[in-house]
Symmetry: D2
Amino acid sequence: MSKVRVGILGSTGSVGQRYVSMLKDHPWFDVAAVSASEASVGKKYKDAAKWVLDKEIPEGIGEEEIIGASPSEMKKAGVELVFSALPSDAAKRLEMEMVHAGLGVVADTSAHRMDPKVPLVIPEVNFEHLEAVDKQVEETGGFIVTGPNCTTIGLAISLKPVMASFGLKRVLVSTMQALSGAGYFGVPSMAILDNLIPYIKNEEEKVASELLKILGEYNTERFVDAKVRVGASCHRVCVLDGHTEAVFLETSEGASPEDVAKCMTEFVGEPQRLKLPSAPERPIIVRSEPDRPQPRLDRLSGTPERAKGMSTVVGRVRKESALDNGIKYVLLSHNTIRGAAGNAILIAECLKAKGII
Amino acid sequence: MSKVRVGILGSTGSVGQRYVSMLKDHPWFDVAAVSASEASVGKKYKDAAKWVLDKEIPEGIGEEEIIGASPSEMKKAGVELVFSALPSDAAKRLEMEMVHAGLGVVADTSAHRMDPKVPLVIPEVNFEHLEAVDKQVEETGGFIVTGPNCTTIGLAISLKPVMASFGLKRVLVSTMQALSGAGYFGVPSMAILDNLIPYIKNEEEKVASELLKILGEYNTERFVDAKVRVGASCHRVCVLDGHTEAVFLETSEGASPEDVAKCMTEFVGEPQRLKLPSAPERPIIVRSEPDRPQPRLDRLSGTPERAKGMSTVVGRVRKESALDNGIKYVLLSHNTIRGAAGNAILIAECLKAKGII
Amino acid sequence: MSKVRVGILGSTGSVGQRYVSMLKDHPWFDVAAVSASEASVGKKYKDAAKWVLDKEIPEGIGEEEIIGASPSEMKKAGVELVFSALPSDAAKRLEMEMVHAGLGVVADTSAHRMDPKVPLVIPEVNFEHLEAVDKQVEETGGFIVTGPNCTTIGLAISLKPVMASFGLKRVLVSTMQALSGAGYFGVPSMAILDNLIPYIKNEEEKVASELLKILGEYNTERFVDAKVRVGASCHRVCVLDGHTEAVFLETSEGASPEDVAKCMTEFVGEPQRLKLPSAPERPIIVRSEPDRPQPRLDRLSGTPERAKGMSTVVGRVRKESALDNGIKYVLLSHNTIRGAAGNAILIAECLKAKGII
Amino acid sequence: MSKVRVGILGSTGSVGQRYVSMLKDHPWFDVAAVSASEASVGKKYKDAAKWVLDKEIPEGIGEEEIIGASPSEMKKAGVELVFSALPSDAAKRLEMEMVHAGLGVVADTSAHRMDPKVPLVIPEVNFEHLEAVDKQVEETGGFIVTGPNCTTIGLAISLKPVMASFGLKRVLVSTMQALSGAGYFGVPSMAILDNLIPYIKNEEEKVASELLKILGEYNTERFVDAKVRVGASCHRVCVLDGHTEAVFLETSEGASPEDVAKCMTEFVGEPQRLKLPSAPERPIIVRSEPDRPQPRLDRLSGTPERAKGMSTVVGRVRKESALDNGIKYVLLSHNTIRGAAGNAILIAECLKAKGII
């Protein structure tokens, strides 16, 4: 099987770097093009990117020349599928240009997540939403699939098996989000040391609307939101990577904490059945210690090696007596792996497995 | 008016140090005795205490000799009222010894908070519970009043005016608590840097039970819990001082965020009416910025000077559509000032104002 | 005595905010004009400045209208003396425009520190360099006095009495500098959490050249560098405020650690003799504990209230056997108070005391 | 080749855990015994150790039963070589008991480092000091080899090639040391957040004396100190792992920064020549960026996989004009890998390669 040639839009930013790093030696994909803004075009990747990850730049990529972010350049490089890590303004415009030029796009940007024709996918949760791609291809020749906000993603994964087993009526979530979620330059050290910031712009709205689309259905015509009441309070804390979330929920049928933990532990989705390269063995790891998950200790959980950071880690599953059929727990999800590049790559693996690319 | 002579139990620990610091130049109280464990007795205070506050040891106290923690020693020093900052085991035993010897005790320890005869008091919230002191004096000659856990206290203050104006059915709170809440040596730096710990032993249970007692009534015979459903999820974050709490609540009657903010801002209690020395001008300060309160910026809010750290700072009051008549907000309360020594001193000022001491 | 009307260039930045905050209720100076870049002109100060200090904006200033950074605007506002907190490019141009228009300027910017006609002053160390102002006034009608880099300033203060008492041959310094030294947005949290950065652009060169000018002489014609060998290694650590420096030095005559500590403790300069409002009682505070100074505990040392953060705190004075007549110690200096606005205000107080303004 | 059976003294502490983790799947050694203090004897390892490393406990070891720390227990388990990670008091006594019982001991504890018969070894620096083992075996039947303090080790490695090429007269070092150097519970978060502590007990003395022994010679009779003047100033900063050190030095012969960087880069020692399993390909990695090494980015440098954290990373090699033939640079060394367990394991590999075990 020859590898699919992929391009990266916004390859020099911090999420772009994560794509470059995670696609290194990928069994199915080959990075054939790295693009960035005008100012970087023509430079070597290693000179254009201020590399911020702990691992070094993969050797081959460092020497690649940055190309312009246009469909024609992508096609010239033989690219079939484009990963987008663009800032929102550029995303809005450029992603659709790619689609209309007949390319496939997988984006973890927010620009098109809520578009009525665009699936918003976490492969373990709503693999079947990928069907909407067919209609896009029919209409435009290309297609776009999006992944959710980094805060929504671990929450949706943890809720899916509970909803399937016991029904879900109400979800309240309070987050403690990592600094990397705001981008490398997003939070000045002077703003956060010995401090926290109880506000992340638009985040609470995104969590609610995205969650309902993901947990909802695709009826071959359109996406229908799940019927769940969702509320969020979002906060930034002084942690490098890994979003922690305190979840309170009301199920339709009564379920003990043990029931909930069991259905989470046993949960697998299509990526696990298809044995996709980046699929974690277990989408949800439930820990039994009283004081876990902790971001520094648990954010890179998961097997195999390629799936480290792709599992949602859940702990402290317990009864919540202030809600009817109430359950509460704490979850942790790696915001720049599962919450961004990793989920997008897993979506691409699904597309390949389905024969779409 | 001559000053009341007070003693401090556990004066060398970090809460004890806060008492020493806050009682400096107090207009009504004079620190006449500092006690500590056997090993320190006879030493000068400045030699026995490993001083950890940013301000220097008040001069007079530094030279004081540590006395033993017995009622007779306290009485020999002419002490009328004892503040207790003891560790829980010692608190259980020693506080009652003081009471039975006819002394008054104000404790921010947990040992006797839930005792059916002991009032658990935040002066702005349930000043009237202090009536229970009379019965104690009748029975034993002495008395004890307790202050709540540092996590409960800001929450109770913020809820009081809402409950009074609109009724309260349900409260869910997710906390982001400061390191000092665990004591100076409580959290190793290796455990918390680039991390958070989503667990604080017994804390969630305390919040629920203490809140109901405080918001409940004293019917001259016993304390009757408030009828509110309360749930908590408690977490430690890398902040020195100041507990931040994300609160979701369901009121009995509908109220807009503006209504709620207004009733909080206008709220005053008995300490304000009595113009007590440590009473903050406003028990609740409501901020209108989208990203406040923040612990480092807001934890020392409040006027006058002596009341810095005594106000609860609330922000982001907004609608919560996942609950009926739902409201959510974020609060901040200084855990070692209002959450410990400061509240106890305010209780003592109430006792003095009522003529009990 | 009527107050001197002063203006602030670059008033909305983080150093500008420090000026605004420290000049509040100043007994000799009145903030008559706050200027900023074009985009802010005409706005209220409180709307133009993203206020980052822990204390609130002084009330009067918040309502002031931002004026343009031109000499004519300053003069229209009745300003006699201008404090400059401009970024370096703007400083280079604008400070001299002010001087040539006959205004007095006190700058803690680097643009003109090494100019042969411009004194670089720490009032306790080289008050006599202010004489150079006369010649400037003669030539241009106006004048400019500069204060040194935040890293040089505590070092120079600590060295002055040692040099005076025992002579100074060699100084090696290794710094651990605070985040605020890079400006509020200077160091991303992602760059420094669980990390340090062993590099600060141009800092080592500045320390060496500035130190020699300050410790040197003004011979009524020009500044003559001190004859000392100076080397520095500069590093950024995860501390909000307060530069800590490990100093190794070789004196000309032998001196015991006790001798050195004594001459530091006893050191006073002209600001102390003149009892200037912002002069700390003691320019150097020597601590005897084995583990001090520490930035969080000691950075606001000093009396009176107005001089908090103006003292250099020294500790661990001990022998260094790897150098002849070797001594080593650790010092701490508040980088945005003594290291910037505070030193500039103290210079202005000297100018007022000398009758120059 | 059958594996050498090794035991670990103090296996449940944080350095002990590092041994357990690094010896997992070691090609030459097999962990046959884990011992700890009385209270833990008989428990399973996973129950006795409060595991603090980010990686999980190696599976086999978790189920092992803790044995007592006596030579007879070690021998009963078939142990030939014992790694000691004991606290100093216990180390003083128990390590020698093992030796006198005929066992081999490799210790990174300080108890016996300066003993005149005990070699203090960094394999790349003074492999030849291992000869002293023969005499020990002759006298007692067993032997002990020690590794240096975590602060000395990276410094000695970086100095070795410079000394060999250009001679070394004077070394001044100012350290910025990681929290893990004080043990997991060593530094309370309240002590270090937004702070640094400019003092580490006895550290400066250790650096000087150990460095001279390591850089000195073994003349088949005794260890002769190197003739170098050494001075240190040691400080704790808020970094989890990785000691950073600013080094100033005076060489005998003039050398340019390029010369120094070159001799460091080319440096290899006996472990590299013997291709030992834990030997890093390059003992010193010299980086050319202006702002490296940084602890979070560089502490796990080195190849192959088993040697990550074993290389000393050097950067900013530059001239120091305040010293004759002056050079300065910054180094980084992983304090719990190369600075403790890793160096000890590399020593053991040397002993195996030499046929001593």
